[in-house]
Symmetry: C2
Subunit: 323 residues, 2 copies
């Protein structure tokens, strides 16, 4: 695998043709923003480009999609580019099978990135893949249109919790300032309100219930929440309604690690782990077969609720001691 600089990546993108852009399953603001921003820029250069995702794009990101969004691509791809995909496993089963071994270029910001592409442009100091893309686009003869700016801003804003987390650098703020100068008509505040401030009344009622399900462990330093199949069925909840609850446990004062267990199917738990400051949850999750960022990681564990919870809490206690 060859590591590319921003400049080399910009040149590569100018030369590619008929591009299939892959984003990860359970798509979030950063991979969706990155995927459609890149497609727009490549189309600007006269190329064919389409975004492919294993799962449907959640409705809340619908405003980022062009009207002629096509999936699967209506052309035979000559090049495959993955954006914000740290591991080809994260493409999802079908997409990995189709494209996993023929990715020409991976553009990413995850420190946990596992090489799978022929070329890689990785900046693990960047807050978001959209921040990496902005730096690359700055070296290309292209125009940052309102549609591109909306995509890039949404990716950066969502991956930083609206500029809240410590993945935000001076460059992040400079990049966003430049986006706002280039494209003053993009409704940035409206995007933020949509992404962060607004909840359906149903979501509020869900959070009201979740407060009662918060478990305090390790004297409150670890807060844990478990959403079982039974709970989801009882209140007719689906995955989309539970989006973003990974951050829920960590909002409690004094919590250093927040754990969310979601029972995917009976006995299979998808775990999200968030760290406030002191603990490296990427290290803990990678011991459990997962991965991610230092302060936001995940894994999947099989077993009974109590078994899984014990494995998690043991691993967290051990991770605490390691530092």
């Amino acid at each position: 695998m060859r590591e590319l600089t921003y400049q080399e990546t910009a040149q590569w993108l100018q030369q590619c043709e008929d591009v299939c852009i892959l984003i990860h399953r359970s798509p979030d603001g950063d991979c969706i923003g990155a995927g459609f921003a890149l497609a727009n820029i490549l189309q600007q250069l006269g190329k064919r480009a389409a975004v492919v995702c294993e799962d449907a794009i959640p409705q809340r990101y619908g405003f980022l999609l062009p009207e002629d969004d096509v999936q699967p691509p209506s052309f035979t791809p000559k090049c495959v580019v993955a954006v914000d995909v740290a591991d080809k496993k994260l493409l999802g089963h079908h997409t990995e099978e189709t494209y996993g071994n023929q990715v020409d270029l991976c553009i990413d910001h995850h420190v946990s990135n596992v090489p799978y592409a022929r070329n890689r442009c990785l900046n693990s100091s960047a807050s978001a893949t959209c921040e990496v893309l902005y730096a690359i686009f700055s070296q290309m003869p292209v125009t940052i249109t309102d549609a591109v700016a909306a995509c890039l801003y949404t990716g950066i804003s969502t991956d930083t919790g609206c500029f809240q987390y410590d993945n935000v650098s001076a460059y992040t703020h400079h990049a966003v300032a430049q986006l706002m100068e280039l494209c003053p008509d993009v409704p940035y505040a409206w995007i933020n309100r949509k992404m962060f401030a607004v909840k359906s009344y149903g979501r509020l009622k869900l959070e009201q219930m979740l407060i009662d399900k918060l478990e305090s462990h390790m004297d409150g330093k670890c807060m844990l929440i478990c959403v079982t199949q039974e709970f989801m069925q009882k209140f007719a909840l689906d995955d989309a309604q539970l989006e973003g609850i990974a951050g829920f446990p960590l909002q409690v004062e004094g919590a250093e690690v927040g754990v969310t267990m979601k029972e995917k199917e009976t006995g299979v738990f998808r775990v999200s782990m968030r760290s406030a400051d002191a603990v490296d949850v990427a290290a803990i999750c990678s011991k459990l077969g997962g991965g991610g960022h230092v302060k936001a990681a995940g894994c999947q564990i099989t077993g009974t609720l109590e078994e899984v919870k014990k494995r998690l809490l043991d691993a967290i206690a051990e991770g605490w001691n390691i530092r």
Copy 2:
């Protein structure tokens, strides 16, 4: 009254002596950050300076205060500067009586600013008074220390809801990028977590109760919440615990106006009004004897709960039609 440019204000500050810095009652992150940043800068220039506030500084902002914070000033002030104070009434009764008619300079960003000082440096396009101060400090022979950067960042971050609202401009992001470059050791993410992400378990339980108190009016376009004396006494709540609930009603999807009524004493309601986008709540509140920003304003109304609610809803309906 004389209007000063940033340059003139910078010169004025370099020439002043023995400065008493006034901030508004019920102090928030912006006036506290502005007050202590200015005191620090003036002290750097060899001057005596002290921050005066009618009310105690809430504990959550304690990290911004210098250890030798003195109040009232241990010297006889020769100059009085008010920061983030849109109207001298907002100084609070005692402070207004003592200093209200002898304010030499007012530095502010509120569009509703009512002239009361001899000189005024007002930029109603700035997101925060701390953003105005950063621009002024940039024109002075001073060093932005970590303490000053923490103050300015906190003011900007809290007044923009962590860069979420539409008072954020490209300049806001550039200013913050520069603060991060000048002072990389300030724990910006820690400040944000403290200001935005963390809640006491008690606060979570309070919000759990507030969800049940949300009232939908005008087909959900206006969400209203009323915190009565009875409710506060029943759950032993004080004002500090209710800080920030003004934004609570507007988080409901579809809401355009969020209203929070807080019964200060029997029959006296302090009202906060927030607008998502379409409605000018400053205009509505000023008709009710209050004021503020287009999207965040307030007023105080006397009467029974039902009377006050009716006056509010009538004024909102009228304000809607005016546009």
